[in-house]
């Protein structure tokens, strides 16, 4: 393994960037491919698929055998609003493998008693996300339906290409949200990415059921993106 590429790979992983270490199994030579790097032919297709599925494996291409080790950052979930739904969603999402943070500037909601063993930040999203900005491997779930709290993270998530962006609120609330986000300069395609009403339509009623509907929708966005290869 090329020591220089090993360092570059680890650097990419620390920066939460997706990368593939390619090894030619005949001569042991490596190549580091970052997500979005153009690679032609059969190998390019295999690389694209590996990034999409996150699965490492051997590939026969151009008459050679390669090993593709896929490094994809662990998915994060940022929940805006320390509400009843979040109390159910945070532990469920953690169980499903997400690295979860709950953010709410309203200190009456964001109390450790309500969120035991959860990474909880009682601050404005702008400040609470300084040390870990929203990225492409983050799901943003905004459930306060207070524009003062929800709008900034929603805009940030749409701009940084978070793999999932969902917002709680009635159709009326969402219509007003669309107006505000349009005024903020976001295009229709970006705004359309917001899952609203939030969650899969499973007829969920209780906060716990709504949490299941949201988590299922987030997992679908992660594992079955609507337009594979879009990025």
């Amino acid at each position: 393994m090329d020591p220089h590429l090993l360092r570059k790979l680890n650097e990419a992983r620390r920066e939460r960037k997706a990368a593939i270490m390619l090894t030619d199994l005949a001569d042991g030579r490596n190549r580091l491919v970052m997500k979005g790097d153009p690679v032609a032919g059969e190998l390019g297709e295999a690389i694209e698929k590996a990034f999409r599925t996150g699965k490492s494996g051997t590939v026969e291409a151009e008459g050679q055998r390669f090993f593709l080790k896929v490094h994809v950052p662990s998915p994060r979930m940022v929940i805006i609003g320390a509400v009843h739904i979040s109390q159910a969603l945070a532990p469920m999402a953690a169980m499903a493998g997400f690295d979860v943070r709950v953010i709410d500037p309203r200190t009456a909601f964001a109390t450790p008693e309500r969120f035991e063993n959860v990474d909880l930040v009682a601050d404005w999203p702008e400040d609470a996300l300084k040390d870990r900005p929203i990225d492409a491997f983050t799901a943003l779930v905004a459930v306060t339906h207070d524009p003062k709290i929800d709008d900034w993270p929603l805009i940030s998530a749409l701009k940084t290409g978070a793999f999932y962006v969902g917002a709680l609120g009635s159709r009326k609330t969402h219509a007003r949200r669309v107006e505000r986000l349009t005024e903020a300069g976001l295009g229709e395609a970006a705004i359309d990415r917001i899952a609203a009403p939030i969650g899969l339509d499973i007829g969920a009623q209780s906060p716990e059921e709504i949490a299941v509907a949201i988590l299922a929708q987030v997992i679908a966005a992660l594992r079955k993106p609507a337009q594979p290869g879009r990025d």
């Binding site: 393994m1 090993l6 790979l9 090894t23 051997t58 896929v70 690295d99 943070r101 990474d119």
Partner: protein, 115 residues
Amino acid sequence: MTSQTIAQATDDQLDPLMVAERWMLDGREVAVATVIETWGSAPRPVGSHLVIDAEGSFSGSVSGGCVEGAVISEAAGVIASGEPKMLEFGVADETAWRVGLSCGGRIQVYLERVG
């Protein structure tokens, strides 16, 4: 926030490729073993890494502990020669049975030197 930071730090401590980089920067000679193919019920998935230095110190895993010993003993040769090596362990293999891949699976491990 702190629990997350600690989790991150621990991950880095245990992550085999991060370990390989640290050892390399310390001037140690390092080999990386990678599970590249599995058949049947293999204990560790494709892509799992074990890193080994010239003294036989190791971090990570390519199985549930059953074939690590064999991989580590092969590592010295790979570190010395610089030639990568393909290793295979499975129930059909006498050696593998002895080293104990008792789960009934078969794995292929690629062993290479860093540098």
